[in-house]
Amino acid sequence: MLRMKGICKSFFGVEVLHNVDFSVDKGEIMGLCGENGAGKSTLMKILSGVHTLDAGEVVFKDNIIRRNATPLEMQHVGISMIHQELNLLNELSVAQNIFLCREPRGATGLINFNRMHEEAAGILEKLGEKIDPKRKVRDLKIAQKQMVEIAKAISFNVELLVMDEPTSALTGRETKILFDLISNLSAQGIAVVFISHRLKEIIDVGHKVTVLRDGYFVATKNVSDVTAHELATLMVGREVTESKASDYAGDPEAVALEVRNVSDVLLKGVDFKVRRGEILGFSGLIGAGRTELMEVVFGIRKPQSGSVLVEGKPVTIRSAIDAIKADLGFVTEDRKETGLVLCRDIVDNANYVSWQKSPGFFKGKKSSEEKTKRIIERLAIRCSSPAQNVSNLSGGNQQKVALSKWLLSGAKVLVLDEPTRGVDVGARQEIYQIIKELAAEGVAIVIVSSDLPEILSICERVIVMHEGRITGTLNASELSEAKVMYYATDV
């Protein structure tokens, strides 16, 4: 149904797609994978009309697509793309978002809201989703927002739907609902292209998978013929070794951080301990209260009750600076929102915390720069210079900068919330390596992650939460996805 042939694309003189071929049949679910920068999104943006191709041709249902077709034209042809960052208007209703710029009008030319709501409800019903079309998008959960995006795409009589990392912000259960929906669409004859970093997902839901590497087409395979491991090898171009963590082997009495009886509207009497050099994971569904718990520990969120002990001594933490002075560190889940000042350079971002900790009025330009250079080397941050703006770095390198401010400040307990979200496979392994090195140096590590394979591969102990409570604790030796899901859903 779709055939893209010999696609080339350059940005600012750098060719990012080299002669790429890509085709999808009617009703086919095609996984698309590759490291960050492999050209997946660029290829799909060409398909959906966001970018214009330099060379090659796109044939859809035996028609050659005009070279510089707009996204709207492509939607009318039957190709829609759901971008990684959802493009919904928060202040408008679900129905208004679905029918944006195509609102059904009455005889007077004014919008016929009744008809719009009915039609929107009809489309949502087809998806098996019960969202009130009059609700504002602002009030929806991420998974529901995604449903609205899909509903919008379907309202165009879509025949090919492209989804760029649709599961990166979803919980396991929501992901399952999405996959059921994708299979459903496929059964109706709608082809789905599905970009994901989670190879297992592609294998679970897809029919075929295409791998890109550095802008080159590598292979298209039937998913029944490949394993996740083989896919990862194709993406990286070298062997990837899957590791599994072993149990914590240090002194069980060397407790670095103890949290007692934290309660608020969401959290219900949570206690936990993490020991020096231990890598502790927090698993659970989104909404289980893991991030909120960490925000309480770090003084961002005010609890109704609860106490924190660092190295056995009680500390009062009312704000982030109190936590920082107690040698706690917190790499937040959304680096763009709460982790980095994107418009500033690496030196500033890496030193914000250590400047807080050191006395004095002046920041010490030379020594800050020296420290930054060393951390850039240690974490292998790929940048043109320490004075480069963080906004120009790739996701993995941004994450390393977000991490570096806590390393430079000498945090003894480091909380990492979704440490590899939006980070490609290569950089992901590097971040795991850094985490392991820190633990080996005696830093207590707490990892909050919705990515189960990630938890399984690096955590020595895992605490599972469900609706504000701890429902289970598992050592690495007794860990399995099934057990974690058992506790996470609290069945």
């Binding site: 961002i300 982030a320 600076i321 936590a323 920082i324 982790g339 500033r344 914000y352 807080q356």
Partner: protein
């Protein structure tokens, strides 16, 4: 061979681009001076140039503080009325004389009171903005309206003359080695502020707060304190501007003193390349910015253009400057 040549060419282009990015304000500034000199040869006259510097110093002082506020993601629309209020305090204290002709309040104390009043207004702005979490635009607008109204009320809308003594008028009208004292004051403040902005932790945090308030908060930066401090800085600068303005006139006009100065200062900051969205900016740009505004005013007179058109020209300057900055991005 070809590839190597190509690279060196693009290298030179890169260099030019970088020069333009870092020094575009200064290059435009140089061009403006040359063009003005050709259009009106009298413009180049040293007396005229020094006069421009003297005239722009009041707005210039405010622009220096305003740079901090805008980098931190805020804005201050109360500067003009605050200048009038602080100026009124200075004049009212300064004009009180004993029967033997000596001042009741020493001049230095009167000036300190003026600076303190202006800084206090900054503190009020900052505390409302950060604690009540209200938009700075609204808060400073309201505080400005209140300040203007109070000064009108207490002075019954009149112009009040100060004690016209050389110790006082010399501040605004005097020169050292031909350089106007107000300009020297502004440059000294500018140097200190530049060091604060680029070399101190506080300066870095100002950028961080304007760039991403949440990330600053999660890094332990006391966002509220930083923000309040920036408003106090612009307040202090407004106090300095008030002192200069009052000593030049030896009088304060309840209705018109400092009128529109906040907009002139904001214009100077924007023309100087500081981003209104916060997180980006340079002090040197603001200095060039207020001098450009001074040159515009001066050229209007030189070329015998109606003063009513000065707003049209300044508006065009703002649009042009912002347009240039957009294109750079």
């Amino acid at each position: 061979m070809l590839a190597v040549e190509k690279r060196s060419e693009s290298g030179a282009l890169e260099l030019l681009k970088r020069i333009w990015r870092d020094y575009s304000v200064l290059l435009v500034f140089g061009a403006i001076i040359v063009i003005c000199g050709i259009a009106a040869p009298r413009f180049i006259n040293p007396d005229n140039l020094l006069n421009i510097l003297r005239n722009t110093s009041t707005v210039g002082a405010i622009a220096l503080g305003m740079t901090f506020v805008i980098i931190a993601g805020g804005i201050d629309l109360s500067s003009g009325p605050v200048l009038a209020t602080a100026g009124a305090v200075l004049i009212l204290l300064q004009r009180m004389v004993n029967p033997d002709g000596t001042p009741v309040v020493p001049l230095a104390v009167a000036i300190l009171a003026c600076l303190a009043v202006a800084t206090a207004f900054g503190f009020v702005n900052g505390i409302i903005i950060s604690k009540a979490k209200l938009p700075p635009f609204i808060v400073t607008l309201a505080v400005g309206i209140i300040a203007r109204s109070l000064v009108m009320y207490f002075m019954r809308g009149a112009t009040v003359m100060g004690n016209n003594i050389p110790q006082f008028t010399g501040i605004g009208n005097g020169s050292v080695f031909n350089v106007p004292i107000p300009f020297i004051v502004v440059i000294v403040i500018a140097i200190v502020f530049h060091i604060i902005l680029t070399r101190t932790k506080f300066g870095t945090y100002v950028f961080a707060v304007g760039g991403n308030e949440n990330a600053a908060l999660y890094s332990g930066i006391k966002v509220d304190r930083i923000r309040i401090a920036t408003y106090m800085l612009v307040g202090l600068c407004t106090g300095v501007a008030a002192t200069i303005e009052m000593s030049r006139m030896a009088a304060v006009a309840a209705a018109t003193s400092g009128s529109q100065y906040e907009f002139e200062a904001i214009t100077a900051v924007i023309v100087g390349g500081t981003s209104l969205t916060g997180g980006k900016g340079r002090l040197i740009g603001s200095i060039v910015g207020f001098i450009i505004l001074g040159i515009v005013n001066n050229m209007m007179i030189m070329l015998n253009i109606s003063p009513y058109l000065s707003g049209a020209v300044k508006g065009a300057v703002i649009l042009f400057a912002v347009l240039m900055q957009r294109r750079e991005r």
